[in-house]
């Protein structure tokens, strides 16, 4: 029977079998394994059965720790279980992994191996996570390709049942998990033959059951624990042969042969590399090439890493081997070697005359590993005294561990078509190229591979698709190096990125160009022209944006350019290719309706008529050049390091360029000048009403307001706009609303929200969006002048008002968040109000990515160098992380106060008293305290006593600092809730800001406990059945916690007031901020105005629960929004998350909407009652005195 091949990515390849072979799956999303859980959930939701005819139960938990716990229970109760995870997620499972393994419980954890966060978070792939759990006692089986991710899933499931040892089945995150490749799937019959019923029965027989009770999870004492622990040895000893048997059985069924260690290369090799994972693909190309050149080299691919079968390794190695390089994709600092290296050394040590074994590191966080690097490893082994420890793939100019790589060494065969496509995140390029791989994989005999490099920026991001097609299975596990086809889907990239860097000589270059074939040349940067000529490229252009528009799919150039690719690439005859594209379109879009289908078909047909070849001139012309990544005035670090990352040359930075420990300068986003907006806001001062709402709601801090003295206008460039500032508080001033033209995302939020209409034409507002026409020189000059204007004196501004807050400098600017992000305006406001004195603990999630993902950060500092001190620890621990900051600051401030008291004789009683008793509740109070501290420093300047120098160190802590703990609902409601609750209960002075998007935004819209009833989300595809958790109500139950629920777009003043009150509250504060998100399915530019509907419907009541109000004889709970005035469904009708369900399952949607409406009514009824409730919280100042007492007493004792 001919095998039906499928074209899937590694995640799907593994998940298919996991789902087939499981009864219970407890999961939690984490990149890059998220898709496995999502697929399993979707399959179960669609009723897809497992091998035994039942639909697996898929449950999303609150964290990986929760998933592992649930899984442990399900396993013990007799179900067959598996889960998917990566990185920190795997680490969170660790305690349960020890238990599961210790109890000899069969299960498989499928891991898309990912870097564990150290000096920085990385979502990319290496083995640091799996290596971190190798002590748990799981067997560890490693796949190195998409096919293997599928095959080894089956082998792992069989071997675990047979051996009772749980398995971690891992493959490289992104490189394998996200690579699309053509594979042979296992049939149900093959699976049945792989998993004998007897093994399942045996597992069932071990289930914990009241019908035959046993004691599990006992506690053991020194007398027996040790012996009992050793009792598992025989099970571990059996694993290698169990796996080998499973592999043998697998080969009988499929013809695909695997072994625990597989050798490839010269039969009498002297130099051998040992490695595991996707790098095997690059390594084997290098080995084949070197052997062909006559070199005696070879490689061993490790399949079963643990239990490590040293005999099998020795047997796999040729007897001729003299030198071995063991390559680890992880770093274990301080160890004598990395884990695989150590196992190999120990494993071979018993051999007589063991070979020389060197250990090398490569590929951390998905760093490329190419055949050239593999060749460099063999070259090193050939040296007289090879490095015993080395790295490859980087330039280590500090410890000089890295190997030199001869980049000219390539192994890409000529009969493989290699194509590269540069697209914009939102233009569908990746979707179309993935489809292209599927079309070729499934409609031809060719093998096909697709790998997609995506940006971490959430707006204006670039995607690069790497495709290969060839007659043999494609195992090239590295990026395309020499492309025979380059598609540039965005003309604007030409000035920013070297898109032809990887174009091979004679390649085809397809350019989406607004300029016609006969005039495009003069619009190309000189550097591009030069490469087109030198590499003899054939250049084709199409105005795909226009074709897409004509076809009724504005902005979606993917289909058009896909048709052009097929027309030019000759992989398939054109007719066949077009028919296949249309069939693919049919598959992808049919369920969205005939209109969508027809428009896509039209785009394909139009494409072929609009594609034209350019007559390439013999010489370069014009003076357009590729832009510098950052302006010349950027600081040194930005020039040397940041700029290289921005330009896509970060791989070339040497070790010395990067700070050890991971501290980077702030305020770097301003140098990036991404220039990604199609439209910019235009300000009409003549109708402006000075409300400052445009700047308040701008998600990117790209539209700013300054109020200044009119005499500063001297020297303003032509076109610089201003108007009179109408305010009694700052009379005689003028104001300017200014756009940062290169930093604006063009989201249109400001224009949508601007309330100032022209009286002559209602559509014209004080802020309108207008197409960027031609050069931005005038705008840039205005922006530069605007920046040169002084910031307003903070002490002269009412910070807690809309206008006042907007007169202040934002210290969070130009983030790479999604255009129109609903979270970022809150963060910007936070920095305007208190940015010069806050520490920010930021939970992992969207906000940590747009906040701290290199190359740049939006967090910045003011002219005095002060600004938010920002850090991200993890996802689950953020409240605790922030509390730790608070404890440190309090303790150091206490120490400073004590030292100050001690040094009164030197410092002077007046100054000491003034500092210790300072009122720092206002901006002027803070400013005065800073002056006092400066005076203190100058008094201490000459003092040489240890006390004085300690106080000099700590003096800044005498100025009040506040700690803000920031994160999303995934953190606050789910994974970090335990910590958040504990921190609220601590009574400490920390401020918590929850940017509530009601869904796991960063990982792609999975349901959280904040997700409202009736909305769809991943893991709640049929609509969330339960109501949203009321975090605010829970927090307010403590009585001493300040709680505010806000929605900036619905009530700006309430939001600003809540920030001011939360900051002022002497205790824990919690602000829950409604944050619109792309995962809501709304038109993002309307995000802020849409919040009004959320509030008007009663869906998002605004309130402030302020314990301080009680002292004034008022009730602590104040409802700030009015009775619901529109039905919930009117609000929901504008959101995809609700309407998609109504489209898909109208009756269910209707039922859930009715319940959701009841949720709203009931919550409102409850809140209204709470607003009338008296509440008395005992006066905590007593406990504060008691806490402060020991320090004061100590200070007294030490005073002379």
């Amino acid at each position: 029977m001919a095998e039906q091949l499928i074209t899937v990515d590694g995640n799907e390849a593994a998940a298919r079998l996991a789902h087939k072979l499981s009864e219970v799956m407890a999961i939690y999303p984490i990149t890059p394994s998220t898709a496995m859980g999502e697929l399993a959930d979707a399959w179960s939701a669609a009723g897809a059965p497992n091998l035994w005819g039942d639909v697996p139960e898929v449950v999303e938990m609150q964290s990986e720790a929760g998933a592992a716990g649930a899984l442990h229970g399900a396993l013990m109760a007799g179900a067959m279980c598996s889960t998917f995870t990566a990185s920190q997620g795997l680490l969170l499972m660790l305690p349960n992994m020890f238990k599961i393994a210790g109890e000899l419980t069969p299960t498989v954890f499928h891991v898309a191996a990912r870097t564990v966060a150290t000096h920085a978070l990385s979502i990319f792939g290496d083995h640091s996570d799996v290596m971190a759990v190798r002590a748990a006692g799981f067997a560890m089986l490693c796949s190195s390709s998409v096919q293997e991710a599928h095959d080894f899933a089956a082998i792992a499931h069989r071997a675990t049942l047979e051996s009772r040892i749980p398995f971690v089945h891992f493959f490289d995150g992104f490189r394998t998990s996200h690579e699309v490749n053509k594979i042979a799937p296992l049939s149900d019959d093959q699976l049945r033959a792989m998993i004998p019923d007897s093994l399942v029965t045996a597992h069932r027989a071990r289930a914990l059951s009241p019908d035959r009770p046993e004691l599990r999870g006992s506690a053991q004492n020194p007398d027996v624990f040790f012996q009992a622990r050793e009792a598992c040895n025989s099970h571990y000893a059996a694993v290698p042969s169990v796996v080998r048997d499973a592999m043998r059985r697998f080969a009988e069924l499929t013809g695909r042969r695997y072994d625990l260690f597989e050798y490839r290369g010269h039969p009498e090799a002297e130099r051998v590399a040992v490695l595991m994972g996707s790098a095997a693909g690059a390594m084997q190309e290098a080995v084949d090439e070197l052997v062909a050149r006559g070199e005696r080299v070879g490689m061993v691919t490790v399949r079963l890493f643990r239990p490590f079968d040293a005999e099998a390794l020795a047997a796999a190695l040729p007897a001729s081997v003299r030198r071995i390089a063991v390559l680890d994709r992880t770093k274990e600092p301080g160890a004598p070697g990395d884990p695989l290296f150590e196992d190999v050394v120990v494993g071979l040590a018993r051999r007589p005359a063991p070979p020389l074994v060197c250990g090398g590191r490569y590929g951390l966080a998905s760093k490329e590993f190419t055949p050239a690097m593999a060749a460099a490893v063999f070259a090193e082994l050939a040296r007289e005294a090879p490095k015993r420890e080395f790295t490859v793939g980087i330039d280590d100019d500090v410890t000089h561990l890295s190997l030199d790589v001869d980049e000219s060494f390539t192994t890409e065969p000529p009969d493989v078509v290699r194509a590269l496509f540069y697209g914009l995140g939102s233009d569908g390029t990746v979707g179309a190229t993935r489809n292209t791989v599927k079309i070729i994989g499934e409609h031809t005999d060719l093998h096909a591979q697709g790998y997609f490099v995506l940006d971490s920026k959430k707006s204006g991001s670039m995607t690069v698709s790497h495709l290969r097609f060839g007659p043999r299975p494609i195992e090239s596990s590295y990026l395309v190096q020499q492309a025979s086809f380059v598609g540039c889907h965005q003309f604007g990239f030409l000035e920013k990125v070297d898109v032809l860097e990887r174009a091979a000589c004679g390649a085809t270059f397809l350019l989406n160009s607004p300029h016609r074939a006969d005039c495009v040349w003069e619009h190309l940067p000189v550097e591009v022209q030069r490469q087109v000529i030198d590499k003899k490229l054939r250049l084709f252009v199409i105005d795909a944006s226009r074709v897409a528009r004509d076809a009724g799919l504005p902005g979606r150039v993917n289909t058009v350019l896909q048709a052009c690719f097929f027309s030019l690439a000759n992989v398939l005859p054109q007719d066949q290719a077009i028919a296949a594209i249309k069939a693919a379109i049919q598959r992808t879009y049919a369920k969205r309706g005939p209109e969508v289908l027809e428009r896509n078909f039209a785009a394909v047909d139009l494409a072929l008529t609009e594609l034209h070849e350019v007559d390439v001139p013999a010489a370069v012309t014009g003076d357009i050049h590729v832009r510098r990544p950052v302006p010349a005035e950027a600081p040194d670090f930005v020039q040397r390091v940041t700029a290289e990352m921005i330009a896509g040359r970060g791989d070339l930075l040497p070790v010395s360029a990067l700070p050890a420990g991971g501290a980077f300068p702030v305020g770097t986003a301003r140098w990036e000048r991404r220039d990604i907006a199609d439209e910019l806001p235009r300000w009409d001062p003549s109708i402006c009403i000075d409300c400052a709402k445009c700047t308040l709601v701008c998600p990117h801090a790209a539209i700013r307001m300054k109020v200044y003295s009119p005499d500063l206008l001297a020297g303003a460039p032509a076109g610089f706009q201003h108007k009179e500032w109408r305010s009694k508080e700052q009379p005689g001033m003028v104001m300017t609303i200014q756009v940062a033209p290169d930093d604006c995302n063009g989201c249109g939020t400001c224009a949508d929200y601007c309330p100032a209409h022209s009286k002559q034409a209602a559509k014209h507002k004080s802020i309108d969006m207008a197409a960027k026409n031609g050069g931005l020189d005038a705008d840039r000059a205005s922006w530069e002048f605007f920046k040169s204007l002084p910031e307003f004196d903070r002490t002269q501004v009412k910070v807690g008002t809309i206008k006042g807050s907007q007169m202040l400098e934002p210290l969070f600017e130009f983030s790479g968040a999604c255009a129109g992000c609903g979270e970022t305006p809150y963060l910007k406001l936070l920095t305007q109000m208190f940015g010069d004195r806050i520490l920010v603990a930021n939970a992992t999630g969207c906000s940590s990515i747009y906040g701290g993902n290199l190359p740049t950060t939006p967090w910045s500092a003011n002219a005095e160098g002060r600004g938010p001190a920002w850090a991200n620890s993890l996802f689950e621990d953020n409240a605790e992380f922030g509390l730790g900051m608070r404890l440190a600051v309090d303790n150091l401030a206490g120490a400073a106060r004590r030292l100050l008291a001690e040094l009164e004789p030197q410092v002077g009683a007046d100054l000491v008293a003034a500092i210790l008793n300072a009122d720092q509740s206002s901006e002027s109070g803070l400013a005065t305290q800073r002056e006092r501290v400066a005076a203190l420093r100058s008094k201490l300047a000459g003092a040489a006593t240890p006390q004085a120098s300690r106080l000099r160190e700590l003096a800044d802590y005498l100025v009040r600092k506040s700690v803000w703990i920031v994160g999303g609902d995934g953190w606050a409601y789910d994974i970090g809730y335990g910590g958040l609750d504990h921190v609220l209960a601590s009574g400490r002075n920390v401020k918590i800001l929850v940017l509530d998007t009601e869904v796991y935004s960063n990982t792609g819209g999975q349901a959280s406990k904040s997700t409202p009833r009736a909305a769809i989300a991943k893991f709640a595809a049929a609509g969330k059945r339960t109501a949203k958790k009321d975090l605010g109500l829970i927090a307010s139950a403590y009585g001493n916690v300040y709680v505010a629920q806000i929605a900036m777009g619905a009530d700006n003043a309430q939001a600003v007031k809540a920030f001011a009150e939360a900051e002022a509250h002497d205790g824990p504060s919690l602000i829950i901020a409604y944050s619109t998100c792309i995962a809501h399915g709304i038109e993002m530019k309307t995000g802020m105005s849409h919040m009004k509907e959320a509030v008007d419907s009663g869906y998002w009541p605004l309130y402030r629960f302020d314990p301080a109000r009680e002292a004034a004889g008022e009730h602590p709970m104040a409802l700030d929004s009015k009775d619901p005035s529109i039905p919930l469904r009117d609000f929901a009708a504008h959101e995809g998350r609700y309407t998609l369900l109504a489209r898909s399952k109208p009756e269910l949607a209707e039922r859930l909407m009715t319940l959701a409406q009841e949720d709203v009514a009931e919550r409102w009824r409850l809140y209204r009652q709470l607003a009338g409730v008296e509440r008395h919280t005992p006066d905590e100042s007593i406990t504060k005195v008691a806490e402060a007492a020991p320090a004061a007493a100590a200070a007294e004792e030490e005073l002379p």
Binding site: T31, K458, R592, G593, I849, G1005, I1016, S1144, K1145
Partner: protein
């Protein structure tokens, strides 16, 4: 004596001329049952709007596509659902359900914009079991370069396409804004329509002073609006060999009687039922029967068209569009101008 209320509309035998027109009441099975119970002789289901379907399709597509494959951490932001019911499925389901639970004829209604859309959905509706189809045709001719002739030709072409696609009877519901209404009616009939519904009422833009926004509005109709269909039914009745249905403003049994006198085969009610509930049908039916009895008409068939232009003693009255003394004919009593004002007739120069 009890008069025979039966009538025939596009070949369908109806128990009375009182048909429930397309309205929110005819959009749910419960509403349809209530209408049948109250005595509706047929129902016109709420319209299927091609534009809406298209809009939903594109919306769903855009929601699902917008941020797909943009960032490394998330390939998509929404779960993949089995199907997106952007299309006519729920409507077709309504047709099927209506056919299942109702004994009276079910007329589906379709509001399209493209030729392909019309025929595609018409076929589906027929397959779903509708007894007849009513097409709702209207374009706002806002483009100054588009001529009336072009628009009329498009109507005719569309009607022909749909009529050629289905075998159930086809009615066409039009607005009154044709320069040559009678000619248009004839061409609609020639294109294959078996019924003409006079007239469609449209949404009009209104400006909300509170929100300073343009809001589409539709007010419920009132009895004075009966007069426009009355005129045209009277004029067309007898001239065209197709069924005529009156729609717009029918509130009372008297309105129904007048329209039948003018020549209507069926009278379609929506506003009256939305205002007072389906039970109003019972009252109007009773009123109609009582009027017939009182005036000694044996049947609706007898009444139908007896005051049409052709049958009327004053045929010219139906063509008088202005209050013009010059046309007053001394052989016929002249209409009293005060009567016009009292009834608040739409006066063109008002």
């Amino acid at each position: 004596m009890t008069a025979d209320l039966r009538t025939t509309y596009m070949g369908m035998k109806l128990a009375t001329p009182l048909v429930a027109a397309a309205s929110p009441l005819t959009g749910t099975v419960d509403g349809l049952l209530a209408l049948q119970d109250a005595g509706a002789s047929a129902v016109v289901l709420q319209s299927l709007f091609e534009e809406q379907i298209k809009h939903h399709e594109l919306q769903v597509d855009s929601i699902l596509e917008s941020f797909t494959d943009s960032f490394a951490e998330a390939r998509s932001f929404f779960p993949s659902l089995d199907a997106y019911n952007t299309g006519p499925e729920s409507y077709l389901h309504l047709v099927e359900q209506a056919k299942e639970v109702l004994e009276i004829p079910v007329i589906a209604s379709l509001n399209g914009v493209t030729s392909g859309g019309w025929t595609r959905y018409a076929r589906l509706i027929e397959e779903a079991g509708a007894d007849a189809l009513e097409l709702n045709v209207y374009v706002v001719a806002a483009n100054p370069r588009t001529t009336a002739a072009e628009i009329e030709a498009r109507y005719v072409e569309l009607i022909g396409d749909v009529a050629g696609t289905i075998s159930i009877p086809l009615a066409v519901k039009v607005g009154p804004y044709f320069s040559a209404m009678a000619n248009m009616a004839m061409r609609i009939a020639a294109a294959g329509a078996r019924g003409l519904v006079l007239f469609n009422r449209f949404l009009y833009p209104d400006i909300s002073l509170q929100r300073m926004k343009v809001m589409p509005t539709l007010h419920l109709s009132s009895s004075e609006e009966v007069l426009m269909p009355l005129r045209w039914i009277a004029i067309l009745s007898g001239q065209l060999d197709i069924s005529l249905a009156a729609s717009s403003g029918i509130q009372s049994a008297h309105d129904v009687v007048k329209l039948l006198l003018a020549g209507a085969d069926a009278t379609m009610l929506a506003s009256a039922l939305l205002r007072r509930g389906p039970a109003q049908l019972k009252q109007i039916t009773g009123g109609l029967a009582a009027w017939l009895d009182e005036h000694e008409y044996a049947s609706v068939e007898q009444l139908k068209g007896s005051m049409s232009q052709a049958a009327s003693p004053d045929p010219g009255a139906f063509e008088r569009a202005n209050y013009m003394r010059s046309l007053v004919d001394f052989t016929v009593a002249s209409p009293d101008p005060r009567h016009f004002y009292a009834r608040r007739d739409p006066i063109p120069w008002d």
